[in-house]
């Protein structure tokens, strides 16, 4: 493969509860145009994410120009998506979609500081499209799987430590930045999957 073509950033899968905890952002070079990453607490960098959930509410919160906020809900929490004049397609999707609806959002994590001094994480969408329930269910299982992979890798890195293997760079970074108990994220994965199984049972009944 040619080295010159810049590789596209992978779209990470994370549930809303973990995504909203990813308040630490960083760049990997001093270049002004270097990609910005949010650090997921389970130990991965995310420049882009792909999420599927229920769009429950849209609101134009702009003052001078249109600035749309959409609430996209998954089994663990809510992704806040903001789209304005620089994301015209996403903004018009938020303007025109009748809620509730299942939507797929591809976008970039962004953080902002609230008046109270808290760091909030939001999603700046590249695209928002209406999808069906099957797509949403697939995303839940896939996101559960990817999240578990990260937790496993994180635990591996932590338990091996020292000289056994180089601990994963982002796991180490997450440990330093958040010092979180990952069992919380595992429990969310379990709850999300159980929720899915229940709806399947209900649907079959």
């Amino acid at each position: 493969m040619s080295e010159s073509a810049p590789t596209r950033e992978v779209a990470r899968r994370a549930f809303a509860a973990e995504f909203n905890d990813a308040s630490y952002t960083f760049k990997e070079s001093d270049d002004e145009r270097a990609p910005l990453y949010a650090l997921l607490p389970t130990g991965a960098r995310a420049n882009r994410v792909y999420v599927v959930g229920t769009l429950t509410e849209t609101e134009d919160v702009g003052e001078d120009s249109e600035y749309w906020r959409g609430r996209v809900v998954d089994p663990t929490g809510t992704f806040f998506s903001y789209a304005g004049q620089y994301q015209p397609e996403a903004a018009s999707a938020l303007r025109e979609t009748e809620t509730p609806a299942y939507v797929a959002v591809v976008g970039k994590p962004r953080t902002f500081e609230t008046d109270e001094g808290d760091m909030n994480v939001s999603l700046r969408p590249e695209s928002i499209t209406i999808v069906d329930a099957a797509t949403r269910d697939r995303w839940v299982v896939e996101t559960a799987d990817r999240t578990l992979e990260r937790i496993e890798a994180f635990d591996g890195a932590a338990s091996q430590g020292g000289e056994a293997a180089a601990p994963d760079e982002y796991a180490t970074m997450a440990e330093t930045q958040y010092d979180s108990d990952l069992s919380m994220y595992r429990d969310q994965v379990i709850a999300a999957l159980e929720d899915l199984e229940e709806t399947e049972v209900t649907a079959e009944a």
Binding site: S2, V10, A11, E126, A134, R146, L193, E194
Partner: protein
């Protein structure tokens, strides 16, 4: 062996098919330049090579650089000179008089399109024949690589069977992006060209009356890997339900071709697909596309989660 001798041997090899020079003569010329005229060895070699290029009436690109044996899967750059030992998998009907033969070559690692120019005056390749092909040059078009046989190419039929590799790959993931140049496009009408026009212009043939075509350049992402996928007209229609005629109608009504890709975006962005097809450069060419509608089984993942 001295450095000079080594260089002389290499230069001799480069011209072995064209000129019968001899290592001694080459070494002597190098010696004169290096010792008498204090020319650095690389420059001396360049100068000697130029002399023989003139003598053989060759272009520098045509020089073999000694060992350039390659496999089909290695081909990832245009304008590289290489040798292939390959089987003629298919011969196609040439679309122009300038082409003597065109088709598909294959080895264990995959297949690649080849073109043999009429003016190169080379011997005929036979379907299913296995050949050692010397000094081919690679070419690229929209991420697809091919090899060209040219007047310096050597063809040697060999008595060997090659098990041609299946280079089809299967990728799946969510369609996270549709790249520019997708939807209703226009291609250059020139037989050998078919380049996609930008604002009615072909980068090779200038302003032309383009021919409409449908195409999608999409990105499939599974959360771990990213794959770029090209859907041709047939695959695009199967994927989006929009055929070429309908697309042209849509564009005519809206006075804008962009409406087509906008509509396609709404249909396919954010959905999951599995695509099978050959890899062409950075792209997977969609031969088969499957929409992933069944939700996968949550049970296995749940068991894993509980065990952590």
């Amino acid at each position: 062996m001295t450095d000079l001798r080594q260089h002389a041997v290499e230069v001799d090899e480069q011209f072995s098919d064209e000129l019968d020079v001899g290592v001694d003569e080459i070494e002597e010329r190098l010696e004169t330049l290096v010792s008498d005229y204090r020319v650095p060895i690389e420059e001396a070699r360049r100068s000697v090579v130029s002399t023989y290029l003139d003598e053989a009436d060759m272009e520098r690109e045509q020089l073999s650089d000694g060992d350039q044996a390659a496999e089909v899967a290695d081909i990832d750059e245009p304008e590289e000179w290489l040798d292939l030992t390959a089987k003629v998998v298919e011969l196609w009907e040439p679309r122009a008089d300038s082409i003597a033969q065109v088709g598909l070559l294959g080895d264990e690692t995959g297949t690649v399109k080849f073109t043999k120019w009429a003016k190169s005056d080379l011997s005929e390749l036979e379907e299913d024949g296995v050949y050692r092909l010397g000094n081919l040059v690679t070419d690229e078009y929209e991420g697809r690589f091919s090899v060209k046989l040219n007047s310096t190419t050597t063809i040697e039929a060999i008595d060997e069977e090659i098990e041609v590799g299946d280079d089809a790959t299967e990728v799946e993931g969510a369609m996270v992006d549709i790249q520019s140049g997708s939807g209703l496009i226009k291609r250059c009408p020139d037989e050998d060209c078919t380049r996609v026009l930008q604002n009615g212009r072909c980068s090779e043939h200038g302003e032309v009356d383009g021919e409409f075509d449908l195409r999608i350049k999409g990105v499939l992402d599974d959360g771990g890997e990213v794959h770029e996928v090209i859907f041709d007209q047939e695959a695009t229609e199967a994927l989006t339900g929009i055929g070429l005629e309908e697309a042209q109608e849509m564009a005519k009504d809206a006075l804008d071709t962009e409406v087509v890709v906008e509509e396609m975006r709404e249909t396919i962005l954010g959905r999951y697909y599995r695509v099978t097809g050959p890899t062409l450069g950075r792209y997977v060419l969609a031969n088969e596309t499957e929409t992933l509608e069944e939700a996968p089984d949550a049970e296995d993942v749940l068991i894993k989660a509980r065990s952590l």
